[in-house]
Symmetry: C2
C-alpha cells in the first residue's frame, strides 16, 4: 500500500487518485458465485511456471522442514506473513475497502438524514468525481470514520458480508473475493501443508479482512493482522454486552507499522514474507533480519493483459497504488529476495480463468 497513510491505512493521495477512476457506486445485486478457495490442484504450485521464483519457494520449504537441514525450523516457529492488496488480490483501480466505504455513504446518510446536505457526504452522494477528488484530508477522515466506526462489531461484519455479496469489480464484473491470485492461494496452501501458520498482514482494516479471510484464504480471524481501531464495551437493556467500533486508531499496519503489528499480534519473527510495494518493505526487512533460511518475495505487476502493469519496478509510472519503486527493486536484488513476475511466473492469475 502507499505511503503517508492515515486512519485505516488509506492515504489521501491514494484515495484521491482512486476516486478519479471510480464509476460511482459499485453495488449491484448478483448472487455470489463459488469461493476462489475451492479451486485446488494436485501438485503444489500448479499455477506457477518453472523458474527462480517457484524454485525459491521449494528450496525454502525444504531447508526449513527437512530435519537434516542446518536451517530446520521446529513446527511451532513456522510463521509466514502475506500482505493482501496487490499481493493476494487485485488492488486496482482502488482498494476494495475504500470502495466499501464510499458505497456505505448512502446507508449512513439514510440513518442520519441530517448528513445529506453536509460535506463531505453531499459531494460523495452527488457522484461528481471531480468534486470528490477535491475533498480534503479531514473530509476523507469523516467518510472513513462514518463508514468504518460507530456501529457494533457484529453490525459491521454483517455490513461487510452484505457488501461483498453484491459489489462487483468494474473490470471483471465479479465479486472482489474472486479476484484472488490463484498462485498465491497455492503458496499459502503449500506452506500450511508443510506446517506453516499463514497470516495476513495488511494495511487494510483488520475487522474488514477478517470477515472473508477464512472462506477466501483459509486464514482464521486470529491470523489476520491489519490496521486496528479501538472498541468500547457497552451493555444493552437486557444486560448483554456488545463492542462498538470507535474512531480511535491503535495501529496503522503499513510500512513500519507492519513489523510493529507482527510483534503485537504474533510476537515472533516470520520466516517467510510476501508483499508487493514499499508498504511491505519493512516487513520483509524484519523477516530477513532473522537467522537461518528466510524467504522474502515481492509480486511485480507487469501483466497489463491479464491483470495490471504499474510502477517504476515494471518500468512504468507510479500509479500511487501499490508503489514498487526502483529502490525497493534494487534492495530485493541486493539481498537475494525474489521478485515474482506475474507475466512470466504465473500460468494463470485467477481461479476462474
Amino acid at each position: 500500500m502507499s505511503s503517508n497513510s492515515s486512519h485505516s491505512g488509506v492515504s489521501r493521495r491514494v484515495l484521491l487518485s482512486a476516486l478519479a477512476m471510480l464509476p460511482t457506486f459499485s453495488g449491484v445485486l448478483f448472487p455470489v458465485s463459488s469461493s476462489a478457495q475451492t479451486a485446488t490442484s494436485g501438485a503444489p504450485l500448479a499455477s506457477w511456471n518453472d523458474g527462480a521464483a517457484k524454485q525459491a519457494i521449494f528450496d525454502f520449504v525444504r531447508a526449513t522442514t527437512d530435519r537434516a537441514s542446518p536451517n530446520y525450523v521446529s513446527p511451532e516457529g513456522r510463521i509466514a506473513v502475506f500482505d493482501q492488496d496487490g499481493t493476494l488480490w487485485v488492488e486496482h483501480p482502488m482498494y476494495s475497502q475504500v470502495v466499501f466505504c464510499l458505497d456505505r455513504v448512502p446507508a449512513v446518510v439514510a440513518k442520519q438524514p441530517e448528513l445529506k446536505n453536509i460535506e463531505p457526504f453531499k459531494t460523495v452522494l452527488s457522484g461528481n468525481r471531480e468534486a470528490m477528488a477535491k475533498l480534503t484530508m479531514p473530509d476523507l477522515e469523516k467518510i472513513l470514520a462514518a463508514t468504518l466506526t460507530g456501529m457494533t462489531t457484529v453490525e459491521f461484519s454483517a455490513e461487510v458480508k452484505k457488501w461483498l455479496e453484491t459489489a462487483r469489480h468494474p473490470r471483471w464484473k465479479r465479486p472482489y473475493t474472486e479476484l484472488i491470485y490463484q498462485p498465491m492461494l497455492e503458496v499459502m496452501r503449500y506452506l500450511r501443508d508443510n506446517g506453516y501458520k499463514t497470516y495476513i498482514v495488511t494495511g487494510g482494516g483488520q475487522d474488514f479482512v477478517r470477515v472473508y479471510a477464512e472462506q477466501v484464504y483459509g486464514i482464521p480471524p486470529e491470523q489476520v493482522v491489519g490496521t486496528m481501531g479501538g472498541t468500547k464495551l457497552g451493555y444493552d437493556k437486557a444486560g448483554k454486552p456488545f463492542l462498538t467500533k470507535e474512531p480511535r486508531l491503535l495501529l496503522n499496519d503499513d510500512h513500519a507499522g507492519k513489523p510493529e503489528g507482527i510483534h503485537l499480534m504474533i510476537g515472533r519473527r516470520p520466516y517467510a514474507a510476501f508483499g508487493n510495494s514499499i508498504g511491505d518493505q519493512q516487513m520483509l526487512e524484519w523477516t530477513a533480519a532473522g537467522a537461518g533460511a528466510r524467504l522474502e518475495m515481492l509480486v511485480l505487476h507487469d501483466d497489463a493483459a491479464r491483470e495490471y502493469a504499474y510502477g517504476p519496478a515494471a518500468g512504468l509510472p507510479d500509479s500511487k497504488l501499490g508503489t514498487f519503486t526502483q529502490a525497493l527493486y534494487d534492495e530485493a536484488k541486493k539481498n537475494g529476495w525474489s521478485v515474482i513476475s506475474m507475466k512470466n511466473d504465473w500460468k494463470r492469475i485467477f481461479a476462474f480463468e
Copy 2:
C-alpha cells in the same frame, strides 16, 4: 486483577498495598528447576476432586465436541481464554510483574546513574517500604515506564528471562514459574486435547507473559493477550531493524479491556473463560453472551493453608489483589457459572507438592 488500572494493568492501590508487603528485592541466584509443564498425569483432570466444578468441565467438553450434540462446535471455533494472575499462578503477595519492575530499578539506575538521587528511583533503591508506599501515581508510572520500556523487544525478553531464573517467591522460595496451579494446567491440556485453542488473556504485560508462556503453559506467544504498549521501528548502523518498546499504552487488557483485547487479538468469541476476580467479570460476560454451550469458571482463593485465602466471596476482607466481590459471586450463581473452591475442588495446588 484490580480496578482503576493504569499502564501495564497495575493500579496504584494494588501496587501500594503490595509494596507494603515486599521484602525488598527478591532476586537470589539459584538454578532453575524443572518446569511445571512436565508434571503430567494420565487421566484428565487428575488433580481435581470429583464435584460440580470438575463435572462442569467434562459436560462442557462433551457438549461442544460430540458431533451428535446440539451444541457441537467445529474445531476452528473452539477458543478458551484464561486470566493469569490468581487464575493460573499465585498473585499474592504481589503480581510477579510488579516485583520484576522493582527488581529492575537498580539495573536501570546503573545504566543511568543520574537517576540515583532522583525520585522515585531514590526511594525504591532505599528499600524503605513505608516511603515506597507513599509514592504518587506519576512516580509509579515513571517506574513502570523506566523498567518496561525504552529497550528493544529482544533486550526486554532477555531481561525477563534472566529475572525468572533468579527471582524467588518469598513464601515458597521457588521460581514464580513453578507457582502454577497444577489443576489449571490439566484443564488447559484437556481442552487442547479436545481441539480447543487456549489463550491467556491477562491484565499483565503481553510481552512479559510471552517470555515464559510457551514453556510454562504450553501457550505460544501469539496466543498471549495482555496489556499492550506501542513499539517503534528503528535501524542499527548495519541497517538491521529493531523494535523499541515505547511508553505508549495501546490497550489496558483488564475489566472492559479484556473483551476489547479478545476482539482485537482473536476476533471471535470464546466458548470457555476462566478468571478469579472483577477484572475478569467482563470477559466472562462476553463469553456467556454467545449462543450454545459456554463455560465460565471463577477460581475462589479459600485455601490459606496450601495457598492463600482472600476476598469477600471467601468471607474475607478485600486484599486489593484479585478482588472477588460478593456481587460477582452472586452474578456467577445467578448465571450458572462455576466457582472453583481451591480448598475443596483441588487435590493438590502445585506440581511440586
